[in-house]
C-alpha cells in the first residue's frame, strides 16, 4: 500500500513538474471555471475535476485529511481527496459518536467513541462516500475520493482556477446540493481559458445549522 502511494506520489510529482515546464515553455494555460446556480448566483464550494478524455491520468498526490465532529456536526462537511488518501475522524464533542458509511465506494464503521481512538481511514477507491452518525441522525457529511489529476473547489465568487498543459479535458462539477451532474469537454488552446457553467435545476435545500438539530425525540 505504502509503496503504491509513493509511486503515485512520484508519478503525480512528475506530472505537476511537467505541467509547470509546459507552462513555462508556452504549452501551459490557466483555466478559470465559474459555476453559477440556475438563478445566476455564484455557487461556492462546488467541486471541479479535470480529466483527460483518454483517461490515462495520474491521480493527485494522496493527503492526510481531517474531518472533526464539533457540536454534533461534521467539520468540514465535505472533503475532496485524491484516491489513496486517509482521513482522521476525531470527535471533539463531549458526547460519543458512531460513524458509518454504507456507500459502495467504501463501507466502514467507527464504533462509539470520543476523542481520537482510531487510526485514520484509508480511501483506496474513487467515489462518493456519504457519512452519518448512528446516534445523531442529523449529522451528514461527504468524502469525495477522486482519481482526477486536477481538482478543486469554487470560492465565494463561484470560481476556481488551475494551471494545466494545453489540451482537451473533461470537466465535471459536483456539489452535494446539486440535483444534476454537470459535465463539459473543453479544448484549451490559448494562455487563458474561461468557462462558465450554469446549473439548470434549483439547488437542494442547505442543511440546517447544528443548533437546530434537537433530535432527542
Amino acid at each position: 500500500m505504502k509503496g503504491m502511494q509513493l509511486l503515485r506520489g512520484v508519478a503525480s510529482g512528475f506530472f505537476i513538474l511537467f505541467g509547470l515546464l509546459a507552462s513555462a515553455a508556452g504549452w501551459g494555460a490557466t483555466l478559470v471555471v465559474a459555476v453559477h446556480t440556475a438563478n445566476g448566483k455564484p455557487l461556492a464550494g462546488a467541486v471541479v475535476t479535470l480529466r483527460s478524455p483518454g483517461g490515462a491520468d495520474h491521480p493527485g498526490v494522496p493527503v492526510n485529511a481531517v474531518m472533526d465532529q464539533i457540536n454534533r456536526t461534521f467539520v468540514p462537511d465535505l472533503l475532496v481527496i485524491p484516491v489513496g488518501s486517509s482521513v482522521a475522524f476525531p470527535n471533539s464533542d463531549s458526547v460519543s459518536h458512531q460513524i458509518y458509511s454504507f456507500s459502495p465506494a467504501h463501507r466502514f464503521q467507527l464504533p462509539l467513541y470520543r476523542g481520537k481512538p482510531y487510526p485514520p481511514v484509508n480511501f483506496d477507491q474513487p467515489g462518493l462516500i456519504t457519512l452519518g452518525c448512528n446516534i445523531h441522525d442529523s449529522m451528514l457529511a461527504y468524502v469525495l475520493v477522486t482519481d482526477a489529476p486536477y481538482f478543486g473547489r469554487t470560492d465565494a465568487t463561484g470560481t476556481w482556477s488551475v494551471d494545466v498543459p494545453r489540451g482537451t479535458y473533461k470537466i465535471n462539477v459536483w456539489q452535494p446540493r446539486m440535483e444534476e451532474t454537470l459535465q463539459k469537454e473543453l479544448t484549451i488552446e490559448g494562455e487563458r481559458s474561461d468557462l462558465t457553467l450554469r446549473l439548470t435545476h434549483a439547488l437542494k435545500p442547505a442543511p440546517l445549522e447544528g443548533r437546530h438539530s434537537w433530535d432527542a425525540y
Binding site: S94, F102, P111, D137, S138, P207, L208, H212, W214
Partner: protein, 400 residues
Amino acid sequence: MSAAVLLALAAALAAPEWEIDLDARLVESNGQQSITNGGLGTLRFDDSQSGLRLGRARFALAQTFGQVWSLHLDASAWGDHDRNPVDLTEAYLQFRPYPFGGGYRFRLRTGAFYAPISLENRSAGWESPYTLSYSAINTWLGQELRTIGAEGQIDWLGTRAGSAFDVAFTGGVFGWNDPAGVVLANRGFSLGDRQTTLFGQVGAPRSTPLPPKQLFREIDHRAGFYAGLEGRYYDRIVIRALRYDNRGDPAAYDAASNTFAWDTHFNSIGLRAQSGTGWTAIAQYLDGETAIAPGSLYLSWPFRARFALLSRELGRHRISLRYDSFTVDSESKYGGGPQHGHAWTAAYVFEPDTHWRLTLEWLRVTNDNQDRPFYVGLSPAATETQVQLGVRFALGPAAR
C-alpha cells in the same frame, strides 16, 4: 487484535452521558384551581401558585453497553407533592445496530418511553424548545400516555443514499397504561409542562373531579398497540402519522384503585417545516375517543385537538406563537361533561450559551367546561391567563 479488544472494552466501559437541569419559574397566574390542587383549572399553575416555583429539576443518564445497547433514564422533581419527590418520566433499554445494506436500520426500545407523536417536544427530557407550556395535545400525552412495553422501528436512511427522503415505520406493543383517558374525561384538556412520572399520580386528595390516580397500571390484561409512519424531506420537513389503540376493556374495573380500563384510541398527524432562515412551523391534529362501561352503561368521550405554532429564531433569540383548540364531547349525566376551548401562547426564549436558557411566556386559555357547574359550582366558561419567567441551568456532557 488485542488493540481491537482493548478498544471494545474501553467503549463498553465508556463513562455515561449525563445531564442535570434546574428550571425555576416566576409565575403570575389568575387560573382556576389546578390539577395539583384538585380543581378544573386549565393551566399548570393556578392563582394560589403564583410566585417562585420549581419548574423542573431533572437528571438524565445514558449508558452504553458495547456498541449497540444503551440504557436511558430520565428522573425529575416537580415540586408539587407527588407520591415520590423524585421519579422517572422515562426508563428504557435501546438496541440500535448499524444501518445495513441499502440504508435500512432496525431499532428496538423496551421499557417506559414516549411514543413518537409530538413534533413539538423534541428537546431532551421531552421538553419543547419553543415554549414552556406544551400544546393541549402534547400536555395530554405527557399527562396520560407512556409506552410501557416494546417498540420497533425500521428506518430507511434515504438521505444517506442520495435520496431527498428518509422514512421510518414504528410499531409499539404496550401494557400498564389502562387508566389513560380518565383525565381527559374527568377534567378535559389543559396546557402545561407537568409530565406524569412512572410511579407518580395525577389528581389531588379530596378532589371530586379527579381524586388521585396512578395511570401506569394494568387492569384488563390486554396489550395495546400503535403503528406510526414518519417521513422526512431532508432536514426541512417532517410528517408523522400514528394510530394508537390501548385496546382497553371498558368494562374491566380495578376496585383497589377505583379505576376502569379506559378504552382509548386515536389517530394523530403532524407536520413540522423549517426554513434555512430560522422559521419553524408546526401543526398537529389528534382525533380519538375514550370510553368506559360501568355496569350496563357505555360512556364515551370523543375528543379532538389541534394546534399551529410559528417560531422565528434569530441567533440566540427565539420567538414563538401558538394557537390551540380542543374539544371533548360527552353526553354523560354523571360528571365528565363536554369541554370546548382555545388558547394563545406567546414565548420569547434567550439562550446565551449551552448552560442557560431564559424564557418569558404568556398564555391565555378560554374554555367552556360543563364540569364546572357540576363539580365546583362555577360558571362553565373561564378565561385564565398565566405569565411565566423561566430560568433554566443545564450541566453535563449531554447538555446543549
